[in-house]
C-alpha cells in the first residue's frame, strides 16, 4: 500500500519537462459553433484550459463589397450597402448617403435629418437587444433571447411600416430619405418606446442582475483605458473603460447637436461593464427617439436628385463616420467624376474589436470565457469581412 502511495507521490513530483511537448495544444473553434458570434473562427493555443495565444480566422462572410460598389452606379449602391453589417444596417446607409452628399455638395432637408436620427437610434436599440439575446444564449439563459429578440421585433415592425423592410431598409438616400412618416406613426413609435422602457426592469431582473451572468462576466476580458486607446477601441467598448467618447457628440452629424442625451460610461472595462453600457445606451436612445418624434419639423423629406442613370458625382473624396451600435463606423469614398464610386473603403466598427482586441483580450482567459469576451466586444464578423 505504501509503495503505491509512494509511486503516486513520485509521479506528482516528477519534473514536467517530459510532458512539455503535450502541454500546449491548439483548438479550432468555429465557424459552426454556438459560442461564436456569426460565421467566424478562433484558433486558440491552450495550456490546460487557459488560452496562451489566440488568432482569429475570418473571411467566411467576404462578398467583396468594396469591389462590387466600384462596378455599380451611385444609385444602385444604396441597395447593397446595408448588407455589410447585418444586425445594424442603418449606419451603412447613413454613411453612404452622407459620403455622397459631402462629395457632391447635396443639401438635405431638415425633416430628413431628423428622420435619419430616428432610424439610426431605433436601429441601435434593435441591435443591442439582439446582442443581449446572443450573449445570454452563450451562458444558458435562454429566456432572455426569447424576450429581447421578440421585443426587437416590435422595432422591426416600425421599420417595416416606415420603410417596407424588416431588416434591410434601403431608406436613406443621398439628398434625404425615401418616404415620409405614415399616418399615426409618431403615436406607434411612442407606444413601442414605452413598451421597451417598461421591459428594461424585467431585463435587469432576468439578465443583468442574474447571478449567473455576474459570475461569468465580471472581471473577464478586462480592458484598461490605456489599452483601449492603444488598441483602437471605439464605441461602447471604449465607454466601458470610462472614456466618454461618442461620435454623435464629438464628430456630430445630422441633428445630434440639437438633441439632449447623456453618454453613459462605466469604469470597469470587463465583459459585464461592456454589456451594462449597452443596457444604459438603450435608455438614452429611447430619450432621443422621443425627442425626435416630438420636435420633428415639417417639410419635405427629399431633395430631388438628377436622373439616377445619368448621375455623375464630381471628383473628390470624403471620410464620414457614424456611431453605430458597435462603435465607429466609417466610409472613405473617392469619386473620379464618373457614374460609379472610384473607391469606397468600409471601416467596420468591428475591424479593431473583432481582430486585434479580441486576440489580445483572449490571452489569459479560460476557454469557456472566450464567448463572453467575443460577445461583450460585440464583434460583428460581416463588418470585418465585408
Amino acid at each position: 500500500m505504501s509503495e503505491v502511495l509512494e509511486r503516486i507521490n513520485r509521479s506528482f513530483d516528477e519534473p514536467e519537462d517530459e510532458h512539455d511537448e503535450v502541454r500546449e495544444y491548439t483548438l479550432f473553434i468555429g465557424p459552426n459553433h454556438p459560442g461564436i458570434e456569426g460565421n467566424f473562427a478562433l484558433k486558440l493555443s491552450l495550456e490546460g484550459d487557459t488560452i496562451v495565444r489566440a488568432k482569429t480566422d475570418g473571411g467566411y462572410l467576404h462578398r467583396g463589397f468594396e469591389k462590387l460598389m466600384e462596378e455599380r452606379l451611385f444609385m444602385q449602391n444604396i441597395a447593397i450597402v446595408c448588407r455589410i453589417c447585418v444586425p445594424d444596417p442603418d449606419p451603412n446607409e447613413e454613411n453612404y448617403a452622407r459620403a455622397v452628399e459631402a462629395i457632391a455638395g447635396i443639401e438635405v432637408p431638415e425633416r430628413a435629418k431628423w428622420i435619419r436620427v430616428l432610424v439610426l437610434e431605433l436601429s441601435r436599440i434593435a441591435s443591442h437587444l439582439f446582442t443581449f439575446g446572443g450573449h445570454a444564449g452563450t451562458i444558458g439563459l435562454y429566456t432572455m433571447p426569447n424576450w429581447s429578440i421578440a421585443d426587437r421585433d416590435r422595432i422591426l415592425d416600425l421599420f417595416e411600416e416606415l420603410t417596407g423592410g424588416r431588416v434591410y431598409h434601403i431608406y436613406n438616400m443621398p439628398g434625404g430619405v425615401r418616404r415620409d412618416f405614415p399616418d399615426g406613426f409618431e403615436r406607434r413609435v411612442h407606444e413601442v418606446m414605452d413598451y421597451i422602457e417598461s421591459r428594461l426592469p424585467d431585463y435587469d431582473d432576468l439578465f443583468f442582475n442574474n447571478a449567473i451572468l455576474r459570475k461569468r462576466a465580471e472581471g473577464i476580458g478586462v480592458l484598461t483605458s490605456d489599452q483601449a486607446i492603444r488598441w483602437g477601441a471605439t464605441g461602447p467598448n471604449l465607454r466601458a473603460v470610462g472614456i466618454p467618447a461618442d461620435l454623435r457628440r464629438d464628430d456630430t452629424y445630422e441633428v445630434y447637436d440639437k438633441l439632449e442625451f447623456d453618454i453613459p460610461t462605466l469604469t470597469g472595462g470587463d465583459a459585464l461593464d461592456r454589456l451594462l453600457v449597452r443596457r444604459k445606451e438603450i435608455e438614452e436612445s429611447i430619450r432621443i427617439v422621443r425627442q425626435v418624434v416630438d420636435n420633428i419639423p415639417s417639410g419635405k423629406v427629399w431633395n430631388k436628385q438628377p436622373n439616377p442613370l445619368k448621375w455623375r458625382v464630381p471628383a473628390g473624396d470624403a471620410y464620414v463616420r457614424t456611431e453605430s451600435s458597435k462603435g465607429e463606423y466609417a466610409y472613405y469614398m473617392v469619386s473620379d467624376g464618373g457614374q460609379r464610386p472610384y473607391r469606397v473603403h468600409v471601416r467596420g466598427a468591428s475591424t479593431t474589436h473583432g481582430v486585434h482586441i479580441l486576440e489580445n483580450l483572449l490571452v489569459g482567459t479560460r476557454i469557456e470565457d472566450a464567448s463572453q469576451v467575443m460577445f461583450s466586444l460585440d464583434a460583428c464578423p460581416p463588418e470585418v469581412d465585408r
Binding site: 467618447a245 471620410y319 472613405y332 473607391r343 473603403h345 481582430v355
Partner: protein
C-alpha cells in the same frame, strides 16, 4: 480648443513640403511625400495628441500608376480628423509599416496587402486572412474585373424548362470550360 486652421499651420510649420487644406468641418487633409509619413505619424501620436488611428485606406490610381495610402488620425480632444495622403508607385509596391506606433494598423495593413498587394516592411503578420481560398490577383486592384471573373468561373443557373425545348446557350459551353484563373 484648436480649430482646423491651427492644425494646418502646425503641420505646415513642421513639414514645409506638405500640402494641407480644410476639407469640411473637422476634416483636414495633408498630402505628404512618402518618406515623411513615418515621422509624421509618430509626431501625430506623441506630440500632437492624435491617439486614434481610425483607418488606413488604399486607392488604386491605375492611370497614374500609383497607389494612394490614406491614414486617418483622430484626436479625442481636438475633435479633428487628419487624413494624411501619400502616393507610392504601383509596380512592386512597398511601404514602411507603422505597426510600431499603432497596433490597430496591423490589421489594416494586412488587409491592404491582401486586397492590393502592397507589402508593408516591418509588419510581421501579412499572411492571408480573408482570401485563404483565393489564388488569383489581389482583387481590389483596378485591373481585376470581378464581373468577368464571375462570368468565367462560376456556374450560372441555366434555366432549362421542358416546354422551352433544347436550348443553345453559348455561355453554358464557356462555363464548362472555365478554368481557375
Amino acid at each position: 480648443m484648436t480649430n482646423e486652421q491651427d492644425i494646418i499651420n502646425r503641420i505646415e510649420a513642421a513639414y514645409p513640403d506638405a500640402v494641407c487644406k480644410k476639407k469640411q468641418e473637422r476634416r483636414v487633409e495633408a498630402c505628404l511625400p512618402p518618406d515623411r509619413l513615418f515621422d509624421f505619424a509618430g509626431r501625430m501620436q506623441s506630440h500632437w495628441n492624435f491617439p486614434h488611428l481610425s483607418a488606413i485606406s488604399c486607392v488604386d490610381w491605375i492611370n497614374e500608376g500609383e497607389f494612394e495610402l490614406v491614414y486617418h488620425f483622430w484626436s479625442y480632444e481636438e475633435k479633428i480628423l487628419v487624413s494624411a495622403k501619400i502616393r507610392i508607385p504601383r509596380e512592386e509596391a512597398r511601404f514602411i509599416s507603422i505597426t510600431e506606433l499603432w497596433q490597430p494598423a496591423k490589421f489594416f495593413e494586412r488587409d491592404i496587402h491582401e486586397m492590393f498587394g502592397v507589402v508593408f516592411e516591418g509588419n510581421d503578420d501579412l499572411e492571408k486572412y480573408i482570401l485563404t481560398e483565393w489564388e488569383g490577383p489581389p482583387p481590389m486592384r483596378k485591373d481585376f474585373v470581378t464581373r468577368d471573373f464571375a462570368n468565367r468561373f462560376y456556374h450560372f443557373k441555366e434555366y432549362e424548362a421542358e416546354w422551352m425545348g433544347p436550348q443553345q446557350n453559348p455561355q453554358a459551353a464557356d462555363v464548362q470550360g472555365g478554368s481557375n484563373e
